[in-house]
Amino acid sequence: MKTAIIVFPGTNRERDMILALRRVTQEPPRLIWHHETELGKVDLVVLPGGFSYGDYLRCGAMAAHSPIMGAVRDFAAQGGHILGICNGFQILTETRLLPGALLQNAHLRFLSQDCHLRVETQDSPFTCRWKKGDVFRTPLAHGDGHFTADAQTLERLEAEGRVAFRYVDATGRAFDSDPQCNPNGSLNSIAGVLSDNRRICGMMPHPENLVDPLMGGVDGLPLFEGVVEAIVR
């Protein structure tokens, strides 16, 4: 399976993503500089975390207009698999490949901590290795992770089962207004969403930082295993 990681000026979690992808695929991921205009033959495109363009203007807004994003859009239109994490998620909403937007965290401070996520659907390459309702731990690290969308969009996301992950407490219960459960104040405690063809996933937390016992656990690994399984099959 061929994977590619897009690198923008200011991207800083591409090395973490390489570690995660190398655990599930034989071929090392290709790093594609944002100035390029073609992806080449690739099965999965990853937009990693970081501060593309220093988060100036608005997180992800400038990266959404980088030369490579034309090719990423075409790849999406052809049904390609795309994973956007943290800044990658912000870029995917700025390009409208995913709905909604990410605002500053509810209490206006950068947050770096572990959180618990509940898997809300099994029906996607990114979540197929879990069962609906499974709860796993993963780190998060962002200043702008408060997911928001208009009421109609939210309703549609929920109705179509396109909420991939929700912030919950360790026992799996969601409390939107409790910062212990929903650390950034996201609407409906949404941590990750899917595109309507379910092949594009964006999420704020970092499952790629929990794929090795030395990192403190392998709770994030099923996401990457699932994508490989879905694509290779």
Partner: protein, 730 residues
């Protein structure tokens, strides 16, 4: 502007120093020349008050590749790798403008590390704030924490550790010391000495503006009521540009283009050009018209002294300048040839066709003033009389856990990205030292910063030695072998004999500890004049704060242990306990006294206990370890419980020592360890002549005292977690 002695004094030179400038130059210097002398001879750049004493610090060991004198210290960690690290202060700017002061402190130390060819892999810090009751403290904490996070998070270097103390002596002079650790191949370390007459001198990074002019001079004087009007001397950072600069420099370093490189830190272009040329024994000519500029109409003086951030100076192979240009274009950074190396031995600065400065480098550097300042030995601390516990053990423990110096720092470290890079094994709060893996190997680095200023205030010699020992212990407690330290000496005005006495004592104490523990100093920074002058003319110095940043090596990272207790094991106390309460946190927080001698260290016991603990961790006999420091045994037990959520039932000590002295005394060279077989470990310890005894059994959801009194983990945590959120709320 005509240059006169009074102008020289305004720029921080003494009359005598100005006389020396005149004799070196043989004429009245130009304004630019005077500015260069003033910056290079500032305390910040010349270490003129401390240099004489710093010489006694041990700086070598078989594993030390480069000691002090380079941008940072370099130690061999095996597998073809070196670790490169240094700590540096940004105290004065962080009071004037907390966010930018702290942010650019992080940016500056990062550049020292990647200038040597290392990818930065971890940031740490050591912070000192004023009394929590002072309303200014809150504003400063908020800015400093946001600044450290804002910079470190954006450049993608994890902030993995640090320490914080509060004391009113830091009310108007907070301390922000930032440390960076980087990783390089041993055969790809870059140095700053300029190489090759005729070779091009290349400027890369951000454009030069008027920010930070004379920052180095500002940091070399005490504050007065005008301090806050000094904002223009504070630099403004851009971590996004720094990230690009890191990647561009590392990409260029993978080629053979760079001959020498140095970051433009304090005193900007002046210090980088002077240091590179003088170390290389060559002259250097700069053409300021070629310097990328952010503002128009800048003078030579302004450009030479600007401390604009995110800039590097390098000497390139003449046939490789195109490669450099291509790489910097890719990263959208400025890159310009601004001069060349010469045989003249002079620094020559040209601007708009005029020679603005022409200074012989050798005397500029070699004749920099070195002072043997008068000092008086520190008076002994007020003796500690008889003290009695006014509360029950459990109440006193809870009081300590919620006190500013012992409470949870989670509120702070939760704002720092500690996992970016994917190599962090122990994040803040998980172990006595942060542990970071060396990618693609089984080795790891244990990293920590330490200092106990209240000990230093009572006895700087003992306190500074203790800071080194505490660093050594924190590294040991993860199972790592301590390799080397970097030091950040923060003191008041060295022109006062009593402050100078603290400096002399602290350096002597450090030297003693470093020698006893085979723990050399490989880099460091001195920050003096941390004093505030009040309207009535009186001044107040900070507590002497010699911060130690330590680095240790884990040969097998899988053996590293954290501090959280494991269920169903024995808790063993390693080391001898006499119940020393002098200068303890118990004394200060429970009785409100700051008295007595700080605890002394027996170096033989220190090494023996530490070596035993390390060996037992490496052989798998110890599952968790925590050194005993602030707050003594009982606080250490509580911290181990809270780290993993596993409780502990304590045994009666039967030590003949009063309970408060046994449980809260701060005797040195001690550890608490968790082990499956306490009897076996005690037997091993006895063979090694190490005092050890079982003091508890782990398990359950509470801390149970020998008396049967119980505190639930939830209660411990709520006391521990309350301070920061309450202080910073609303």
């Amino acid at each position: 502007m005509t240059v006169t002695e009074s102008l020289a004094r305004e720029l921080g030179l003494t009359a005598e120093e100005y006389g020396r400038v005149l004799s070196i130059m043989g004429r009245t210097p130009s304004l630019t020349e005077l500015g260069i002398f003033s910056a290079m001879w500032s305390e910040h750049c010349s270490y003129k008050s401390s240099r004489k004493w710093l010489r006694q610090l041990p700086t070598t060991a078989p594993w030390v590749v480069h000691g002090p004198g380079e941008n940072a210290g370099v130690v061999d960690i095996g597998h073809g790798y070196v670790a490169i690290f240094k700590i540096e202060s940004h105290n004065h700017p962080s009071f004037i403008e907390p966010y930018q002061g702290a942010a650019t402190g992080v940016g500056g130390i990062l550049r020292d590390i990647f200038a040597m060819g290392a990818r930065p892999i971890a940031n740490l810090n050591a912070l000192r704030f004023g009394a929590p009751e002072n309303p200014m403290t809150r504003r400063i904490i908020d800015g400093v924490v946001r600044g450290i996070g804002g910079y470190g998070n954006c450049v993608g270097v994890p902030t993995v550790g640090g320490e914080i103390n509060f004391h009113q002596a830091y009310d108007t002079n907070p301390l922000v010391n930032a440390m960076t650790v980087g990783l390089a191949r041993k055969d790809k370390v870059f140095l700053s000495a300029a190489v090759g007459v005729g070779n091009p001198v290349v400027y890369v990074g951000s454009r030069t503006g008027r920010d930070g002019i004379h920052g180095a001079t500002m940091s070399s004087a005490e504050f007065d009521k005008e301090a806050l009007s000094k904002r223009p001397t504070v630099q403004v950072g851009d971590p996004f540009i720094e990230k690009l600069l890191i990647e561009a420099c590392l990409e260029l370093m993978a080629t053979d283009a760079i001959l020498s490189i140095q970051d433009m830190g304090a005193a900007g272009l002046t210090s980088s050009a002077v240091e590179m040329a003088s170390k290389g024994g060559v002259g250097i000519t700069l053409d300021l018209d070629a310097v990328p500029q952010r503002e128009t109409g800048m003078s030579a003086y302004e450009m030479m002294l600007s401390e604009s951030q995110e800039r590097m100076l390098m000497v390139l192979r003449p046939d490789r300048t195109d490669i450099a240009r291509q790489i910097f274009e890719k990263w959208e950074l400025d890159c310009a040839i601004i001069g060349h190396l010469t045989e003249t031995g002079h620094l020559i600065v040209k601007h708009r066709g005029v020679v603005e400065a022409d200074i012989p480098l050798t005397p500029l550097v070699d004749q920099a003033p070195v002072y043997d300042r008068p000092f008086v030995p520190q008076p002994p601390a007020a003796p500690l009389g008889k003290v009695y516990a006014p509360l029950s053990l459990d109440d006193m423990l809870l009081r300590l856990l919620e006190s500013p110096d012992l409470c949870s720092r989670a509120w702070v470290w939760n704002q720092y990205d500690s996992t970016v890079g994917g190599q962090t094994v122990f994040r803040p709060g998980m172990a006595d030292a942060a542990v970071v893996r060396v990618e693609e190997t089984s080795i790891g680095l244990a990293l920590t910063t330490d200092c106990t200023p209240r000990y230093c205030q009572a006895n700087a010699r003992v306190g500074a030695a203790q800071a080194v020992a505490e660093t050594w212990r924190n590294i040991t407690a993860t199972g790592a072998r301590p390799l080397a330290i970097t030091d950040n000496l923060n003191f008041g005005n060295p022109e006062k004999p009593e402050v100078m006495g603290q400096i002399v004592g602290a350096i002597e104490g450090m030297a003693e500890a470093c020698k006893a523990l085979d723990f050399p100093v490989v880099s460091g920074n001195v920050s003096l004049y941390n004093e505030t002058r009040h309207a009535d003319g009186s001044t107040r110095a900070i507590l002497p704060t010699p911060v130690i940043g330590g680095l240790g090596l884990l040969e097998d990272i899988h053996c590293a242990v954290g501090l959280g207790l494991h269920e169903g094991e024995d808790l063993v106390l390693i080391g001898a306990t006499q119940g020393v309460l002098g200068q303890s946190l118990w004394l200060r927080e429970i009785l409100g006294q700051e008295e007595g001698d700080p605890p002394c260290i027996d170096w033989h016991a220190e090494r023996r206990n530490g070596d035993f603990v390390r060996k037992s961790i490496q052989s798998g006999d110890i599952t968790a370890c925590h050194d005993i420091s602030d707050g003594g045994i009982l606080v250490a037990v509580a911290e181990m419980i809270m780290a993993s959520g596993v409780g502990c039932e304590l045994e009666s000590p039967d030590s003949g020592i009063r309970p408060e002295a046994f449980w809260f005394g701060e005797d040195q060279s001690r550890y608490l360890v968790c082990t499956e077989n306490g009897a076996y470990l005690c037997e091993q310890a006895a063979q090694a002549d190490v005092p050890a005894r079982i003091i508890g059994k782990t398990g359950g959801h509470a801390l149970i005292f020998p008396s049967g009194v119980t505190i639930s983990i939830t209660r411990l945590k709520s006391a521990h977690m309350s301070f920061f959120p309450a202080l910073m709320a609303g």
